[in-house]
């Protein structure tokens, strides 16, 4: 019996090749898109999930009150970890982790590599179950000069030799001994590093971090609890732990599940309010919708063909088939097509993944060895087959055989409204996705167009590491002399990344109760000329003014927002205070984007670091080509700072990274919107072909009576145009609502102007009509005699 179903199903598929291709192709695209999205979603859902103790690992979050709000961040005092372990019952272990300054030059024999490192307490590897290829997780970080490296880094350093107990040098001076080799870090983990060093090294590198200071938040603290039951009690103790150790400090700590840090990163008023998880849910919905569209297509096309199949149903019933076996027959057909499509989809997916990965800069791969993957894929095929086959199956098998055989069956009498509804739903979805794509792109453009306040082109940055810390002036002069750069300045960090801020700035006339968060940024001489930040009044730091570096009252520059907030009559010359330290304002510069381009620029105070700093920003000389400038810089760097491989980053491309998330969103909306539209059009194409076929005779007669091709094409297209218009009517308000909600996330945002909707509607109409009219014109051009003879 089953064999018979299979045979017939296969013959049917073969006999109607175009139909099967459109039908199966739509499903293939739908399933491939759905799988791709699910892969993307599961990539993010499984972020940081590889650890055994995951359910009991928490990150310590810090609630800071100020400005009438609560700011939440995962940064704690260095002393917190030990205090928590000692004072909170149910804490199995606590670990401090820091990556500030962890990037180091690691050398072995004559080879040096700039790599990313972490500092961590020795319990790190017993809390986070990284897999050790060599070495003992429990003891690997106990000695202060030990270092644990990843497999790839071990290979880079030592080739095939055994890495254990090999001695490497960190930052050209510190010997360290390899005590462990772990598996490479998977891409979907928050901490990306090449090696881990003991936390003691952090305190060596940053002397200020030593000691019992509860007011200084700089490291991450992780806590492993005995069980979930300990959580509430732990949180109630943590709430007051800072205040108990440091009177007057209102910061409150609490535990947040480590597994959630990737997707629930947004806090408001001290509470978790989600984060990217909503985007993930969006993609889940999109995956489902695309799959549904593909299924809807399938049903649409299958029922459209019901008239042809009806005869077969009638005969089968008349020779003894019951309804159940007919239903099974149609479901079998649908299952075959869905399985073939699924197989094709998996092939397409595997072929497209590398492309998709480069596009989104992530590392997705189909987990082939994981049986749950195959169960998921199989169940998608099964559910799709059943879902899309069931409607035609039940519908077709309900025909009364004798009516069909007497030719009294009029196809679609009952199916047509449903088919129309399905087309409307598909195109409403298409309109929404097109609108969303345009809106996201416009929003990104808008933000990019707002300007960043400095000239990011021809601006490069290099880290001030090794010898360079002392010899920056030499390098700057050398490069200026040989014409590679025109200006240079040292900064406390890259101009593309925001760094520290403080409540501690005060100024004459400030309400003592008012708390305002001010960004602190250090810049060297020639700051505005190098970066292109516009100086509004006063002057910038310069070697010509010794007070910039050697005065007891340091000089500062402030940004425009700071000047406005401080309401200083004459900003230049005013004295402000950073804590108890007075400082003289010497200049005001125009606001520039330091952190997020999407939010308001906070007030900023800039201290002078002379030729110091941790990053050297340089303006390339435009008289020469970029590559020759870079060559010069590389050459000088190698001479001045031979131990470190030169790393030059271009500020313009670093700045672009700020738009990464939105770009990904736009790209995904674009890609999957496009796919959804293609799938919908395949469906429409099939339906139009069918409608044209159905009306072959009518068209023939009309043509004989004198109708023109455009008359006929119009006649056939009209019905579909109506459906698309209805879809637009439904889609526009929904789009406006959803996109307005999305735009609320941004402080600076575009208006959803009417033309976006109009454009999306026109695009949809044009695409739909192009699809339909191809069939309509084809039918209209056919020789009427042929079509009339076919009766």
């Amino acid at each position: 019996m089953v064999q018979n179903y299979l045979k017939i199903a296969w013959r049917n598929i073969k006999k109607h090749k175009a139909f099967s291709f459109i039908n199966g192709g739509g499903l293939t695209l739908g399933i491939a898109s759905c799988l791709l999205l699910l892969l993307y979603v599961s990539y993010h859902l499984s972020f940081d999930h590889q650890f055994k103790n995951l359910d009991n690992i928490y990150v310590v979050e810090n609630n800071q009150h100020g400005d009438g709000q609560i700011y939440t961040f995962a940064s704690t005092p260095g002393v917190a970890a030990a205090a928590i372990k000692a004072e909170v019952p149910g804490v199995v272990q606590s670990v401090r982790v820091d990556n500030y300054g962890g990037g180091s030059l690691i050398s072995y024999k004559n080879n040096s590599f700039k790599k990313v490192g972490l500092y961590a307490d020795s319990a790190f590897f017993s809390m986070f179950s990284y897999h050790f290829i060599k070495g003992n997780p429990l003891t690997s970080l106990t000695q202060p000069n030990s270092i644990v490296i990843t497999a790839d880094f071990a290979k880079t350093l030592f080739g095939d030799a055994d890495p254990i107990n090999k001695m490497v040098t960190r930052n050209n001076n510190l010997p360290m001994i390899v005590t462990g080799v772990i598996d490479n870090i998977p891409a979907n983990e928050s901490y990306q590093f090449d090696f881990v060093m003991p936390y003691a090294q952090f305190e060596n590198d940053n002397v200020w971090a030593k000691g019992q200071n509860w007011g200084h938040n700089f490291c991450q603290t992780y806590v492993q609890l005995k069980d979930v039951g300990s959580l509430n009690r732990a949180n109630s103790i943590l709430k007051s732990i800072v205040a108990r150790h440091s009177t007057g400090n209102t910061n409150q700590l609490f535990l947040f599940p480590f597994s959630k840090t990737h997707l629930y990163q947004k806090f408001e008023n001290g509470r978790s309010v989600g984060g990217s998880i909503s985007q993930i849910h969006l993609f889940e919905a999109l995956a489902l919708c695309i799959l549904l569209i593909a299924c809807v297509n399938f049903m649409n096309l299958s029922t459209a063909r019901s008239e042809e199949r009806a005869k077969e149903v009638g005969i089968r019933k008349a020779i003894g088939s019951n309804r159940a076996s007919l239903i099974w027959q149609f479901i079998t057909e649908s299952l075959i097509l869905s399985f073939v499509s699924t197989i094709m989809a998996v092939i397409i997916l595997v072929l497209c993944l590398p492309f998709f990965n480069t596009l989104l800069k992530i590392k997705l791969s189909l987990p082939i060895s994981d049986w749950s993957t195959w169960i998921l894929i199989l169940s998608i095929a099964l559910v799709t087959g059943l879902l899309s086959g069931s409607y035609p199956a039940f519908y077709l098998s309900s025909f009364q055989p004798i009516k069909v055989l007497k030719g009294m069956f009029k196809g679609g009498g009952s199916a047509l409204p449903i088919r129309k509804v399905l087309v409307v739903v598909q195109f409403a979805f298409a309109v929404f996705l097109i609108t969303a794509t345009i809106c996201v792109y416009r929003q990104i453009r808008f933000i990019q167009g707002m300007g960043n306040g400095y000239d990011k082109n021809n601006l490069v940055e290099i880290p001030m590491e090794g010898e360079l810390g002392k010899k920056a002036e030499v390098l700057i002069n050398e490069l200026k002399t040989n014409g590679a750069i025109t200006n240079a300045t040292g900064t406390s960090q890259s101009i593309t990344q925001n760094g520290s801020n403080t409540w501690g700035i005060s100024w004459p006339g400030k309400d003592p109760k008012q708390q305002i968060l001010v960004d602190i940024f250090y810049a060297g001489y020639d700051f505005t000329h190098t970066t292109g930040v516009k100086l509004l009044t006063g002057r910038e730091f310069s070697p010509d003014y010794p007070i910039d570096t050697n005065s007891k009252t340091p000089t500062v520059m402030i940004n425009e927002t700071a000047a406005k907030i401080m309401k200083l009559k004459q900003p230049v010359g005013s004295i402000i205070k950073y804590g108890d330290q007075p400082a003289t304002v010497v200049g005001v510069y125009k606001d520039f984007v330091w952190g997020s381009p999407y939010s308001k620029i906070p007030p900023m105070v800039t201290f002078c670091d002379g030729y110091g700093g941790s990053v050297l920003a340089m303006r390339l000389n435009q008289a020469h080509s970029i590559s020759s400038n870079i060559d010069q810089i590389n050459k000088s760097l190698k001479a001045i700072n031979p131990a470190y491989p030169p790393t030059i980053s271009f500020v313009d491309s670093e700045f672009e990274l700020k738009f990464e998330n939105e770009k990904v969103l736009a790209m995904l909306a674009n890609l999957f919107g496009g796919l959804a539209i293609i799938i919908s059009c395949l469906g429409l194409f099939g339906l139009a072909a069918y409608a044209a076929e159905q009306r072959t005779k009518e068209i023939g007669v009309r043509k004989v009576l004198g109708a023109t091709v455009s008359n006929l094409a119009g006649l056939l297209s009209k019905d579909f145009l109506k459906l698309v218009l209805i879809a637009i009517v439904f889609a526009v308000p929904v789009s406006i609502w959803v996109l307005n909600k999305w735009l609320q996330n941004y402080e600076f945002r575009i208006d959803l102007s009417w033309w976006i909707m109009t454009l999306a509607s026109i695009i949809t109409i044009v695409i739909a009509m192009a699809t339909v009219s191809y069939q309509a014109i084809k039918a209209a051009l056919a020789n009427p005699i042929n079509s009339l003879r076919s009766e």
């Binding site: 018979n4 045979k7 017939i8 005969i315 008349a318 020779i319 055989p401 055989l405």
Partner: protein
Amino acid sequence: MLSLQHISKFYQVGGTRNFVINDISLEVEAGEFISIMGPSGSGKSTLLNIIGMLDEPSSGYHYFAGETVHQLKDKQRSALYKKYIGFVFQAYHLIDELTVYENIETPLIYQDFKSTERKAMVADMLDRFQIVGKKDLFPAQLSGGQQQLVGIARALIAGPKLLLADEPTGNLNSKQGEEIMQLFKKLNKEDGVTIIQVTHSEKNAEYGSRIINLLDGRIESSKQL
């Protein structure tokens, strides 16, 4: 074998009932060969379909092989049909996607015959109708007469006790028609299959043992030959 009592079938057209079968009562004994005649639209096909349980009467009593058909559920009715009845259509109604062999085989599949049994039975039938050479062809590759032979072979494959044929020769030339009538006669005489056929041809009607004339949904006359 079967008995119809006061069977009527009407269609509601607007406000009025349009009787297609009007209070027909009919007894058929096993082994009979009945020809139904009558002008087009007189209700012949409808009557045949009702007898064959492909259509339901609006009112009346229907007994078949000892069962009270009008009280049976769909499933039971279709089981009864499968067991006893073979149907031949004027328009052949072969399944286009299946070969001759598979078309003939299909009813056996629905009746859960084993594959080996099916093979033997279909081979037998192909032999009997001398269409072995055509077994792998599709309906579209056959002439009308050949298609009807396949249709009949399919109707007979499961060994029905009652063969219903609605204008089986309507689309054939007279020579082909005659062959089929010879076949029916042989089936009736040698295998004892009860046959009810609808026909427009006096000559073909006379192959039967009784001729029933329908007019406007009533039996106008009935003649034993």
